[in-house]
Symmetry: C2
Subunit: 196 residues, 2 copies
Amino acid sequence: MTERDTAAPPRRARRVDARRNEQKLLDAAASVFVASGVDAPIREIAAEAGVGLGTIYRHFPDRTGLVIAVYGHQVETCAEAGRQLLAEEPSPLDALLAWVERFVDFVITKHGLADALGSDDPGFQRLHAHFLDRLVPVCAELLAAAEDAGQITPGVDAYELMRGIGNLCVGHESDDRYDPRHLIRLLVRGLRIAES
Amino acid sequence: MTERDTAAPPRRARRVDARRNEQKLLDAAASVFVASGVDAPIREIAAEAGVGLGTIYRHFPDRTGLVIAVYGHQVETCAEAGRQLLAEEPSPLDALLAWVERFVDFVITKHGLADALGSDDPGFQRLHAHFLDRLVPVCAELLAAAEDAGQITPGVDAYELMRGIGNLCVGHESDDRYDPRHLIRLLVRGLRIAES
DNA sequence: AGACGATACGGAACAGCGTTCCGGATTGTC
DNA sequence: GACAATCCGGAACGCTGTTCCGTATCGTCT
């Protein structure tokens, strides 16, 4: 295998207009997402980018792909923050708390993202799955550290916890009386081993 | 005001076919809801009832109204169970736990209901609001009792708690790895005052 | 430079949804 | 039996996401 890839047919490089349109779409999507939420109509994004509908589907499988492309970097950043917090914070539990807080901030500040994560729409479920795939291992690491330190009750599943935290964020935009942070803090408090 | 209502014009009673169709719709809706979930297409319910689309909208403002009509009774039952549990259970906290468990059972056993409660669809938000209007006072009562008994930390908002519990139920159907009950127990554990 | 094939674009077209609307059928009353 | 009030059915509208293909553009090779 002296070739760069196994049995790779000599593919031509992508055309410049394609690359340009992809960038236009990412910019437009980011702009529309903050203005109208991540569930904004596809046509709105196409219009904002000055591009046809077909062009969107050429570059992204569906809106979920677009959302992942737009916010993927921030998810990555959040994931990487896990290890760093574990090193910086005074205790694993503190690290866990800080990390959860950071994740919640990320989700809450994106219009409609929290609701999208809780949606039963198949597309949005893929979105949730993608986020979780990246973040659950980090959460698991933090949980394990806190467990080893004897700070939290063992046997808590990272996937379930992440999923629950995401769920608790649902609906925060359309309801002044509901602040997810309260309950999330309460939930994490429920993890703690009482210091007797 | 010897009349039954203030300035009530002498309204004729509803026609028998109207009453019959309403019943047919309720039956059909209940059947379709368990088969296809509460977010089943309106047309499906109309077909099941052997009725036109207009007939649905004549009797119910939208699908939300239909859901409320179908499940309203069970919500009522759940609400009434609050006081009873408070009398039966050994302690207010036990009553709260049992009541929450009962509520979660209700939500979880209805196809798509949990997801509907977490939906950002305006119609479904009205549904959530209706459920909460009826149940929040009950939850508040239970919370207050547990607070007075010194069993839980004070200052927990019943509305927020109910909303959070509803949210935690979201997505349980489409995800084997996620069991809302775990987190809900954990959450309520977070309420508890550590017995030191 | 010119031409030709690969690639990408645009938007019409389709399917499915909730909701509205009104001509016509049904019902209760006089 | 006749006449209103009431109610029904389903076509039609507007809004979704998604697919599809004729056309335009780009990169390369002569």
